[in-house]
């Protein structure tokens, strides 16, 4: 199959070479494809759609979202890395695809730093420590003591290898120095179902899925792994307040272009993203989701490059032994 792919790729490259190179001056002159490496309706997809809808107005061209799922988002990211670097194919990268994938997939066909040009950070989704409603510990301190004392007995659910809930739980476990039994589920829905039904003890998950369950009392939240409390869950303490400052994790999302995209195009796209993040309506919708909008200083391509580097350094020791 690989050679069929490369044959198709060769034909494609030849066809592209025939065409006149697109000029960067009047970019964009046609619609832009944004690859989203996860299913439509997931947190990354929703954030991408909210932001790109506004960006399309600024750029004067439509942005078509193409959801390409598979292998924890790495299928889509591989495709984006190989795409033509004319600024018409972009990708919404993610903590998983552009950082955690490096230690998780030894045969990864791309490198987040070497094969991509960072454009701008979009928004992050905070991560919560959740447990079934009748799990004995009352707060985070008790939780830490309890899981350490019962490391053989507790079960931690996650939404599949490489998912946000999996990698963030691995981080938590490595900070606590425990190795609980990890029970894998196919996606956050089934994992949440098991937690609500009390079949598993705890899990880490993104705020979007968890808020209504916490408010209804079907599960409980011990802490949120961000520096500040979240407006949609004002009663849930931060990990720093609750006594576990080392556990900081956020499922960040950011726009990347294939390596070699011209700096003028990157500047145009970055400006459009920043403008979208300053828009009142966009901010309101993102905040409703529980997302954290990055401060102005974190919105430059350089800041994103630094973030990717630091995230790879953060996840590599945590996930290396797991795979």
């Amino acid at each position: 199959m690989t050679s069929i792919r490369s044959l198709a790729g060769a034909c494609l490259a030849a066809l592209c070479a025939l065409a006149a190179p697109a000029s960067a001056q009047n970019y964009p002159t046609r619609s832009i494809t944004m690859i989203v490496p996860f299913a439509a309706g997931g947190p990354t997809d929703v954030i991408s759609r909210i932001v790109t809808a506004h960006m399309a107005q600024t750029l004067g061209q439509s942005i078509i979202i193409e959801n390409v799922v598979g292998a924890g988002g790495t299928t889509a990211t591989t495709r984006a890395a190989r795409a033509v670097n004319d600024g018409y194919t972009l990708i919404t990268g993610h903590m998983g695809t552009h950082a955690a994938s490096v230690p998780l997939y030894p045969k990864l066909a791309y490198h987040p730093e070497k094969d991509f040009e960072p454009i701008a950070l979009l928004a992050g989704t905070p991560i919560l420590i959740l447990a079934r409603k009748d799990f004995p510990p009352k707060d985070l301190k008790e939780f830490v003591a309890y899981v350490k004392a019962n490391a053989e007995k507790v079960n931690a659910a996650h939404a599949g290898v490489g998912s946000v809930s999996h990698v963030s739980c691995e981080l938590l476990n490595s900070i606590l120095g425990i190795k609980p039994v990890g029970v894998p589920f196919n996606g956050t829905g089934p994992a949440m179902n098991a937690l609500v039904a009390g079949q598993v003890d705890y899990m880490c998950d993104q705020i979007v899925n968890a808020v209504p369950q916490i408010n209804a009392g079907t599960i409980k939240a011990y802490a949120i792994a961000t520096p500040e409390r979240n407006p949609s869950l004002p009663n849930v303490p931060t990990t720093t307040e609750a006594g576990l400052p080392a556990f900081q994790a956020q499922a960040w999302n950011a726009i990347f272009a294939p390596k070699g995209t011209s700096p003028a195009i990157i500047a145009t796209l970055n400006a459009a993203t920043v403008k979208a993040l300053d828009d009142e309506a966009v901010r309101k919708r993102l905040l409703e989701l529980g997302s954290v909008i990055p401060p102005v200083s974190a919105r430059t391509p350089e800041a994103l490059a630094t973030l990717v580097k630091s995230e790879i350094a953060k996840w590599t020791p945590v996930l290396k032994p797991a795979s």
Partner: protein, 504 residues
């Protein structure tokens, strides 16, 4: 009384012009999606999600729901006409439905599928409204151990529905299980039997294999020298469009049983709807006076699974509406649609969003009514399609299937794989292996393996959980009983069917 007030409120919402229009669009698109081979509900709902951006949330969800259950109506069409199941739930329909079409009875088969779906849809909608909340407990009572036992039961159903040799049917199921293991391992993420092909990293898609072993293989087989005689015969044989009185009497109890089974199994997240359709088929085959009619055009074999899959499609909304947890991929997309509108469904969605919940429930009934009005007249058109000469029909089916498979993941390799499975399917037909058990093994395989492993992880390797948990034990007992029933007759009397099966 509360219920009636709620329902009245729901109908008030659903009968607003915009929501009626949304419901109609959903039903139409759903029918279209179901009819087109390969284009699945998941892909379509995902594609249409951005459109719902600009719509009011209630209307948007009514439309998406319409697509979902509308596709259950349409899905039977290709199963019956050209032996291509578009969805996992309509694999069983193809068994007897296509045989009916070959006997010139495509009209009654299509009509009974629509009627059965309508009845099941109405009953299941009432069930959601009346018993939604208490039924939720069932979804929560099913842990990994129960799921594993249910999947074992499902695989036994797959054995029972085979019409030829039991040994060959079991071999096909196991082959299906093996094929389902291709891809990433759920627990370790290790790549299994994928040979470093990136498109195989997430396993073989259902649509890919189904289009191959049913669709392409059927086409290739029909192109065999001498096959055109049979086809001309079929075109001359076409009789009535509507079911006869006898058809209706025969299928009425089957529709009832299918509805009950489908409603119960649909609530279970995951493979509920698939198991429902062939549990219904198996039940009909087991209680029939003359089980040998099944697989040769028994109308109950169409009525029961079609009722079951539509009932299951409706009741699968229960976990979403009462717990806020999506039980399958399409529902997960609907959660996405709600999220885009700033509504995150949770356990309190019924109290917090009465417009949405009751409007949707009421719209389901309206949608089912629309669907039967759309589908019954279409039967005539579909049957007329059978009169199109096969030399023009088959390249069209090839193109539709290819586009459909490509559209699932936008992956050209999937199309090639489907072609490979087409040749595999051709070989299977030549050696008298049935593709249906293979597909069911493929669908149920991952669910069975994952839940077995989850159950053993939670129990720390103690296999006794499967018999100490009462629900699981009951399911396993039923499975054992069925297996004995299935194997005994074939052991006692060596079947002579091998000779009569050359044309299946």
């Amino acid at each position: 009384m509360d219920l009636f007030a709620n329902l009245a409120h729901g109908f008030g919402v659903a009968f607003s012009p915009i929501n009626l229009l949304m419901c109609l669009i959903g039903a139409l698109v759903g029918t279209l999606v179901g009819v087109l081979p390969g284009i699945g509900t998941i892909a379509t709902v995902a594609m249409l999600l951005p459109i719902t951006f600009g719509l009011p949330p209630v209307g948007a969800l009514i439309m998406l729901a319409g697509i979902y259950y509308g596709a259950q109506y349409g899905g039977s069409t290709t199963s019956i006409l050209v032996n291509i199941p578009g969805e996992a739930t309509s694999v069983v329909t193809a068994l007897d439905g296509h045989q009916m079409a070959k006997q010139g009875r495509a009209g009654p088969a299509l009509a009974i599928a629509a009627i059965g779906s309508f009845f099941a849809g109405c009953v299941a909608t009432v069930l959601i409204a009346v018993l939604g909340a208490p039924l939720t407990k069932l979804a929560l009572a099913f842990g990994p151990a129960e799921y594993f036992s249910l999947m074992v039961l499902g695989l036994i159903f797959a054995v029972v529905l085979a019409k030829g040799s039991v040994l060959k049917a079991i071999a096909m199921i196991v082959l299906g299980l093996l094929l389902s293991m291709v891809g990433s391992d759920i627990e370790t993420g290790a790549s299994r039997m994928a040979f470093n092909i990136p498109e195989l990293a997430d396993g073989l898609g259902f649509a890919t294999v189904a289009m191959g072993v049913f669709g392409f293989a059927e086409i290739i087989r029909n192109l065999d020298f001498g096959a055109e005689m049979n086809r001309n015969l079929v075109q001359q044989k076409i009789t009535g469009l509507m079911p006869t009185r006898k058809d209706l009497i025969d299928s009425a109890p089957a529709i009832g049983r299918g509805t009950v089974l489908g409603s119960i199994l649909g609530i279970l997240p995951g493979g509920g709807a698939v198991i429902a359709s062939f549990a219904a088929y198996t039940l009909e085959k087991k209680i029939a006076k003359n089980p040998s009619r099944f697989g040769r055009g028994a109308i109950e074999g169409v009525a029961a699974p079609e009722s079951a899959n539509n009932a299951a499609a409706q009741t699968s909304f229960i976990p979403l509406l009462t717990l806020g947890i999506p039980p399958n991929a399409v529902m997960a997309l609907m959660v996405g649609a709600m999220t885009i509108h700033g509504i995150v469904p949770g356990p309190q969605v019924m109290q917090k969003q009465p417009d949405l919940v009751w409007g949707m429930i009421a719209s389901m009934w309206i949608g089912n009514l629309m669907l039967i009005i759309i589908n019954l007249p279409l039967v005539g058109i579909w049957v007329r399609l059978l009169r199109v000469p096969y030399r023009l029909m088959f390249p069209s089916i090839v193109i539709f299937c290819a586009i459909g498979i490509y559209s699932v993941n936008n992956a050209p390799v999937d199309v090639i794989l489907a072609g490979v499975f087409g040749l595999v399917g051709y070989w299977l037909i030549k050696h008298d292996f049935e593709p249906a058990p293979l597909l069911l093994g493929m669908v149920l395989g991952p669910l069975m393996e994952e839940n077995l492993r989850r159950a053993l992880l939670i129990s720390r390797g103690d296999w006794s959980v499967f018999v100490t948990r009462p629900l699981s034990a009951v399911l396993l007992a039923i499975a054992a009983g069925l297996l004995v029933l299935a194997v005994l007759p074939s052991l006692r009397a060596k079947r002579d069917e091998v000779f009569t099966e050359s044309e299946s």
